[in-house]
Symmetry: C2
Subunit: 419 residues, 2 copies
């Protein structure tokens, strides 16, 4: 599957090959900013400003970035000609007098992004427009213990089905996967619940079949980017996404960049220790955060406390039952919130990001759960004067946030160059 008509400008490094050439034999630890890279960087930042702030005029963008208006014109003009951006009609502005500003926004028909969400047993592929719209969703299932070839065939088939509905070449393909991912090498290291994926060099495989830039990252990082793009993290420079469910995970947005850690292994929070010599964890260690703040703990406690249908209890149900007056539910919910809070406290003491977006089970508990957790965090953290800690939930269907995030991963990896 090949596409034509690449845009006349570059959004950054468009293919891994280009990247290798650009980096050359640069084995050192210094990278200078080259003249040509500068253009790509600034183009990327202007686009990001448009993501973050919505439609803006050239003059607004110039003010926002502290640069000359002419600079913005020079950057956006080719993008308008290339139909990536659209110049809207002059809108009635709030300022008096003067030529009315013409807002710039993303062309809904601009090149889209391929996105894949890979969870044990299921593949979800789609196209994501720069406006965040999700199109051409195709799903497939695979045998987690089956044959690699069969999985690759299923993967290729759904992705082809989704991508073929694009009119112009997508900018790239982003894959969000459960499990342990090496995002540098582009391989899946291990997925406990889907051994067929173990060691799969998925990026190389997809790159070869689709001739597009491909990025893979783990699920929480996709949620983070989804938050940043169209969720509560929009426009923020520092925040963390935290996922709770059967397992716990997290990802960080630091100083305007997605944090990966070496080989993309940052954010494996589930196995940070909050209880030395505590309960045994799946990983073989004791007292991991996952042993006190994930669903298995919640359900075990529900059994112990004699709650109704304890094996299927969720945060959402606890909130509902609390509202209906169940003291037992309220008590368990509070303990759950407190246990979740400990992990956030440790993050806060370490990175001091001040802003946390919750996903997964606790997100089902909505604002009430978030507020409960926030209160525990406030109590447990060492306060600094004037410091406010924000805890929000992203309740949008998880699949959508992760898919948007997977798409955003491609984009951000090509916009935010490592400089």
């Amino acid at each position: 599957m090949k596409f034509e008509s690449q845009p006349s400008y570059s959004l950054g490094q468009r293919t891994p090959a280009t990247r290798e050439v650009a980096a050359g034999e640069n084995s050192g630890n210094v990278t200078l900013v080259s003249q040509s890279a500068l253009g790509a960087i600034n183009r990327g930042r202007v686009l990001q400003a448009l993501y973050d702030n919505g439609p803006k005029s050239r003059a607004d963008l110039a003010r926002l970035a502290g640069v000359n208006r002419t600079t913005i014109t020079g950057i956006v003009q080719p993008m308008i000609e290339d139909q990536l951006l659209i110049e809207g009609d002059a809108s009635p502005s709030d300022v008096k007098g003067g030529k009315p500003a013409r807002p710039l926004y993303f062309n809904p028909d601009a090149p889209m992004l391929g996105a894949v969400l890979l969870l044990p047993g299921t593949i979800q592929s789609c196209l994501v427009a720069l406006t965040g719209e999700i199109k051409a969703v195709t799903k497939a299932e695979f045998d987690p213990h089956g044959d690699t070839e069969a999985f690759i065939a299923a993967m290729t088939k759904t992705l082809t089905a989704a991508l073929s509905q694009a009119q112009r070449a997508p900018f790239g393909i982003g894959v969000a996967s459960a499990g342990m991912i090496d995002s540098d090498k582009g391989t899946i290291l291990t997925v406990n619940l889907a051994p067929v994926l173990t060691g799969l060099p998925l990026v190389a495989i997809l790159q070869e079949r689709f001739s597009l830039p491909v990025v893979i990252d783990h699920h929480p990082r996709a949620l983070l980017v989804g938050d940043r793009w169209f969720g509560p993290g929009r426009g923020q420079q520092n925040f963390a996404a935290v996922y709770t469910g059967e397992v716990l995970g997290g990802a960080f947005f630091i100083d305007g960049k997605v944090y990966r850690g070496l080989a993309g292994s940052g954010g494996e929070l589930g196995h940070s220790v909050v209880q030395i010599d505590g309960a045994l964890c799946n990983c073989g260690k004791h007292g991991c955060w996952e042993t006190v703040a994930a669903l298995p703990w919640l359900r075990k406690e529900a059994v112990r406390m004699g709650l109704p249908h304890p094996r299927s209890v969720t945060c959402a149900r606890l909130v509902k039952e609390t509202d209906e007056g169940s003291n037992a539910a309220e008590e368990l919910l509070d303990r759950y919130a407190r246990n979740v809070a400990f992990g956030i406290v440790n993050l806060q003491q370490t990175l001091s990001l001040n802003s946390y977006v919750l996903h997964g089970d606790v997100a089902g508990g909505g604002m009430k759960a978030a507020e409960l957790i926030r209160r525990h965090v406030e109590q447990l953290v060492v306060k600094r004067p004037g410091q406010e800690i924000s805890i929000t939930v992203n309740g949008i269907g998880e699949g959508h946030t992760a898919l948007r995030g997977a798409a955003g991963l491609v984009l951000s990896s090509h916009l935010k160059l490592v400089i």
Copy 2:
């Protein structure tokens, strides 16, 4: 106190005033890289490469950074003329044939950096050469509960004494301080053991008196920069510094940059929780890492176990007594190492930096303590294939590492622009 003869080129933003002008009314979250900033950025990176790798020829630097040789010439030539760098004699190289390379290195007589280490009751000021040499150390004491004016007078006096021995204007002044620091605003928030410092806007005060760029940061961050500059972190792009003693603290070097967190509050690791509902901490919470891995814990346990002179026990002494065959010392040392390891494990699970430099009490235990801790970390961390975790100690007199780090803070804040 004023200096003359500024260099003809700029190493970045030389004064806060310039910075404000440069940022303009940029209240947004986007910053484009301007053409002129590009030069400053690359100049800074070349200098950093020289720090990291020691004397290098232009050609080597070009290869290291993946840029053209002519670019390096253009960058270093003004610095040589300005006597910041010196071009060494052609040295016999290992390659056969060709014109011999001429190494570039820092002029020991180049402008130096002012550095201050502020601990409860004591002030230490000095000059630090770009070669790392520490000169003109002057010390003073102050009453931690005394008068603010008296403190400022003492501070100004020692710093003036140190700076007056410089022949050219220092690049700036770096302050490393105990306690909670707001490095954005340049103020000391609180120092538990020195109330006189509470709320002191030290950066503004020093900037006014010395007309130089001034940077303040907390003690562990200075240690980090000291490590990065002349310690085990030299040339590394990702590592953490961890300080243990009466209190615990840390700082991170991430992707080639010092991590600060909002208002410089990142790295307050002592109060991350490793034992839910554990022992009561000074901060009023329970189960902080500080309650199980700092000196007070160690000494309390030494008392409990009946070790000799338990109130003055240190890691160094435990190592010595272990070597001499004391089983009790060996057992306590191992438990101490394990407790320290938990904090490092949590860092590793969160940020995945893979490299840790220890300071303070555990550093006194030398390689033996480091190896013990490393073994515990290896056992407690979720291993990824091929992942190696390095734990080292920086045993150099703490004052020196912190002072060098304080100096480095100024330099790095002026070299590594936020771009």
